[in-house]
């Protein structure tokens, strides 16, 4: 596994069905992402960026082709296995944060740890550490509605890294933020990538954001192309 890519998307086709109509989104797509990469995935709206990210994160299955992460053929797992696999290997960061409004920051971050064997005090400890990493140790007991967008996204990132996942998947993590907060989030992701060696795949529209990545790929008409030089 040392020299094989961490993420191997091979000859993947994804077709949605809307009524009797077929909506082809990805057609015979290949993508390799190495351990420790920070990949930006760009492309026009509706080109299938989220779709591809969902396939890599085990939220959806390809119509054809294979998706293997760290050697696991996740397209072949059962729903139950896939859920357990996500809990163990993936951290998701969403555009609209997707925090639980009834839980405070710390509880939100603890949530994925409920799926581990950690006990209560260990869960609290881990959550505090993760919130510390994203610079929110002073906001542990705050509820999402009392936090700014940037702060909510930090909680979202803390939740994504608290289980120390194999890969971080971010779908337009700065899409709902102003320039300043967005920059802070990108800096945070960059730090996680550089200092902790986290493999990150980030979907974005924003050239400003993709500039922070170590590699950029473009998705258009169901196919990938590298950033033209």
């Amino acid at each position: 596994m040392s020299n094989a890519a961490l993420v191997q998307v091979q000859n993947v086709t994804k077709t949605f069905h809307r009524g009797s109509e077929d909506v082809p989104v990805l057609s015979g797509l290949d993508l390799m992402v190495n351990q420790g990469e920070f990949l930006a995935l760009m492309g026009p709206s509706g080109s299938g960026k989220s779709t591809l990210l969902n396939l890599i994160g085990g939220l959806d299955r390809p119509t054809q082709g294979s998706v293997s992460i760290g050697g696991d053929r996740i397209d072949q797992l059962s729903d139950r296995e896939l859920a357990a696999w996500r809990a163990r290997h993936v951290g998701f960061v969403f555009q609209f944060y997707n925090l639980m409004p009834v839980l405070n920051a710390q509880r939100n971050v603890e949530l994925p740890l409920l799926l581990t064997s950690l006990n209560k005090s260990e869960r609290r400890q881990h959550a505090e550490t993760a919130l510390n990493v994203v610079g929110l140790s002073h906001r542990l007991k705050h509820y999402p509605r009392t936090l700014s967008g940037g702060e909510q996204q930090r909680v979202g990132i803390a939740r994504a890294i608290v289980t120390d996942p194999t890969i971080l998947l971010c779908d337009e993590p700065t899409g709902d933020l102003d320039r300043k907060s967005g920059d802070d989030i990108l800096t945070l992701l960059q730090t996680l990538n550089k200092e902790q060696g986290k493999t990150i795949i980030m979907v974005t529209h924003d050239p400003h954001a993709s500039a922070r990545a170590s590699r950029i790929v473009h998705l258009d008409k169901g196919q990938l192309s590298a950033q033209p030089a």
Binding site: N54, A83, L115
Partner: protein, 396 residues
């Protein structure tokens, strides 16, 4: 993986988000409370009615009717029949002869206190021994009627349900005036719904000089019932049907309590259907307003099983609250409530107290839980089946 932790965590914040949709949650709980209240109320009526009817008879008392008669209404016995019956072996004896009472009754119309409309009340002519035969007659006001006079005493239930039946008042029917000289209780039993007078006075007033409808007899013990019955049914001079009074009353009440139960269960079922849609609606909206949360949880790796269970738990919790609320209200409102209803087998009013018992409450709570589970099941399955990727899109 720790499945229970998952269920618990999801259920916990489902419940914590309840205040945000308290309107729908409340209306579901109230709908279910209504079903529970009606169910308990109606069953309490049937229960109370049955209770009033069966408490009346003791096993060492027998009632004799003409054979083929299914109630006193359709029975008739002659003076000679009555004499043969009271002389039969097994009949207990008091200082003034056998403890048997030959009786007849007529139905009179009196205005109900509650509505002012008239309803049927039995006016029963009894023998002098009737008080000893029944055993549980207690005068709570005034005195007993005097033999040979146009005097009546009124059962406490009848006095409560109908106007103009207080001691000191009188009842005018046709050419006859009956003076009310007392009020009696009969241990909550059937006699409390009746008016009593001397049979010998009632017979000429209603032109039935020779006729009775029934003979009530106190037996020396409950064990002599069989020999008493055999003696009468094998006597070629008599064509009679003998029953223990307790059995007789139980039989007389089945039609009405069955009818009440049937109607009640029908009404409760209709309401249950409504409440079910209420619960379904609440849970569907609970699921759809939290589509995003559920999809997020599942993206994080929570299983669909815990999602189903947690939605069910919430719906069950709402239903239990509703069920207990309804049963509690029914208890406060109905338990001990005095009512009168028609007994279809005697075509007269029976007064009784609603009786909300623990098994009734349990029935209602179980019923509510079933509603809750059914109401939560489809939405729960929908929540679990939601494709995560498209659920996340929907909410964005």
């Amino acid at each position: 993986m720790n499945w229970f932790t998952q269920v618990f965590a999801i259920a916990a914040f489902n419940l914590r988000s309840l205040p945000q949709r308290k309107g729908a949650a409340l209306s579901a709980a109230v709908g279910i409370a209504g079903v529970a209240a009606v169910l308990v109320g109606v069953l309490a009526i049937a229960q109370g009615f049955r209770h009033a009817m069966t408490k009346s008879g003791s096993p060492d008392t027998a009632i004799v009717l003409r054979s083929g008669a299914d109630s006193e209404m359709t029975s008739n016995l002659s003076r000679d029949d009555a004499r043969l019956i009271s002389d039969a072996p097994g009949v207990a004896r008091g200082s003034s002869g056998p403890l048997s009472s030959a009786e007849l009754f007529v139905i009179i119309d009196l205005p109900k206190r509650s509505t002012g409309t008239s309803a049927n009340v039995p006016l029963r002519g009894v023998g002098a021994a009737a008080f000893d035969v029944r055993g549980d007659i207690t005068m709570v006001q005034g005195r007993r009627f005097e033999l040979g006079k146009n005097e009546v005493i009124v059962g406490a239930g009848a006095a409560r349900a109908f106007s103009g039946l207080d001691a000191g008042q009188s009842i005018k029917i046709g050419v006859n005036t009956w003076n009310i000289v007392g009020t009696f209780t009969a241990g909550g039993g059937l006699a409390e719904s009746e008016i009593w007078t001397d049979a010998a006075v009632l017979q000429p007033a209603y032109h039935r000089p020779e006729g009775y409808q029934s003979v009530y007899a106190k037996l020396t013990s409950a064990d002599t019932y069989d020999s008493f019955k055999d003696a009468l049914t094998t006597n070629p001079q008599l064509k009679v049907k003998v029953s223990r009074l307790s059995d007789h009353y139980a039989e007389q009440s089945t039609l009405t309590s069955g009818f009440i139960t049937t109607i009640g269960v029908f009404i409760a079922s209709m309401m249950a259907l409504g409440a079910l849609f209420g619960a379904l609606n609440t849970m569907y909206s609970a699921v759809s307003t939290r589509t995003n949360e559920i999809a997020t949880l599942r993206a994080l790796g929570f299983g669909s099983g815990p999602v189903v269970i947690s939605v069910l738990t919430e719906s069950l919790a709402l239903a239990l609250v509703g069920g207990l609320l309804g049963a509690g209200l029914a208890y406060l409102a109905f338990d001990g409530y005095q009512a009168a209803t028609m007994n279809f087998q005697t075509f007269s009013q029976v007064t009784f107290a609603f009786s909300v018992t623990a098994p009734l409450v349990l029935t209602a709570v179980i019923g509510a839980s079933i509603l809750g589970i059914i109401g939560g099941l489809l939405p729960a399955i929908r929540a679990a089946r939601l494709p995560i990727a498209s659920a996340l899109r929907e909410s964005a």
